[in-house]
Amino acid sequence: MSTLLEIQGLHVEIPLSAGILKAVRNVSFSVVRGKTHALVGESGCGKSLTALAVMNLLPQSAIRCCERLSFDGQDLASTNERHMADIRGNKIAMIFQEPMTSLNPCYTIGNQMQEALLRHRRVTRKEALDRAVFLLEKVGITAAGSRLKQYPHQLSGGLRQRVMIAMGLMCGPPLIIADEPTTALDVTIQAQILSLLKGLQQEFDMGMILITHDLGIVARVADRVSVMYCGQVVETGDVTQIFENPLHPYTQGLMDCIPIPGKTQRGEHLGSIPGIVPTPIGDMTGCTFRNRCPFVSKACAESNVTLQEISAGRAYQCLLSPEVCAQNLRGGVAV
């Protein structure tokens, strides 16, 4: 159970005309071989930017700085672009949301998969093709040989995503970053793709960072979870801890919002978090959730709240004590 990726104090800032956008603030987490770490949050929380920061694929104007960014013992923060290019695809594979735009429509599947391997290894085209066939069959695509000669537009969304996953595995990377891998897919295909990912992860002992806004996916797939809000990690823990005992008011609020067949009463109001996410530009003192929090107090605007660790691997960022948070969950304070 070795630590594959360790991130400490990651910051990403993007200068805009209205000021500096602090898109990612002080994010820390680690990923272990064979386990999935989920980054969950709504749009604009910085989860995708965090993944891009790890791979150093941020937009030109963005500034990244971190205390520690190490992958398999190697310090990624000081790695130059040439060596990063060697790592991408080879050691860290990324699977994106839209398989149609991630695959080049001008080349066959086989061509693109071969290229993924040939870029990083000295093998013959035939060997690369064999590996492509092997992986396509692993991801459940039948008649792999003929599929390799097809173009992306000839495949359905679910098949394309399987191809993306197979392509990601060509070099046998120890870490996969999956950014909303099933959002663009039908719900029946989604379950299949997620099972596939999980199975492959176990088989090849890979670490996975799963980025999503869907709490259902997180619950069923992840081992550890970091909940992000407005660029910060507001709560972190094992998946059962987060879902059965959420501490941060945002996490609790999110869980309340989701309709669950059989659990939430039909026709009754769902829980909701009033207001909208603030834009993280300018002065950032105090808790960024305070304008939407049902338990806000004067102190929330003044002090800088930091992530407090209450036990190994379990942390949250709120001025309220864990006992009060747990009480809030059990309906202690009306919203």
Partner: protein, 299 residues
Amino acid sequence: MVEQAIGEIKEIEFPSPGQILRQRTLSHKGFMIGAIVLILILALALLAPVISPHDPYHQELSKRMINPIWHSDGTWEHPLGTDNLGRDYLSRLMYGARISLLIGVSAMVISGIIGIFLGVIAGYFGGRVDMFVSFLITTRLSMPVVLVALAVVALIGGSLNVIIWVLGLLIWDRFAVVMRSSTQQLRSIDYVNAAKAIGCSTTRILITEVIPNILNSLIVIATLEIAHAILLEAALSFLGMGVQPPLPSWGLMICEGKEFMLFSPWIITIPGVVLSLLILSINLMGDGIRDITAPEGRS
């Protein structure tokens, strides 16, 4: 809504589309340069009757071929000299600007009306209408514009009106093609569907929902077509098949000046330079408008 004074966070106000446009326009160098040059030329053209030193048609054969001011024997009475018929060159240049701009804008308006109408109905209705309009466009594209214009002028005779109408009826193709593809993209967008579901008539949808959203590409094409029309007129006049003398069209002035090219090069150079400046400024503006209205298109 929960709006407690305790928890309040200062909200960032997003600027309206108008404010964004103004800010981008003023900071775009190419657009501003083009706009300034164009405004200068426009001012010259509009104020020509007031500030031109002489009547551009007035011939004084005793004062033929006087050199411009930078020669040793130039005078301030004729800063740009006189041509072979003794007409003041500066005045002819100013009046020539009027002709170029008039032809450019009129031809653009005529071709614009034709092209926008055809393009929008082809893009919106699709099917047979699209097939028919595409056929018209293909036919028009297969015709060489200059040759057709030459033929028409040879038949009817050249004059300002003839040139404007011939050009206007010939250069609508770019409008049609671009408006067609822009409209196609908007045809099934949700706010058009919403307007249909509200019961808007097709005309109303086209005018209030579709056209305001294709204005960006429209304005760019319009500026480029002005330049296109001006250049075409200059070419036709140069060939003698455009505006007829004694009108001071810049193309005609270039034509008249080619006999004296070796001895009095200013006669052919000056209108050439001013023509290039005008086209350049229009193109800079058109390019700038494209950047301002759709900066996402730039890399």
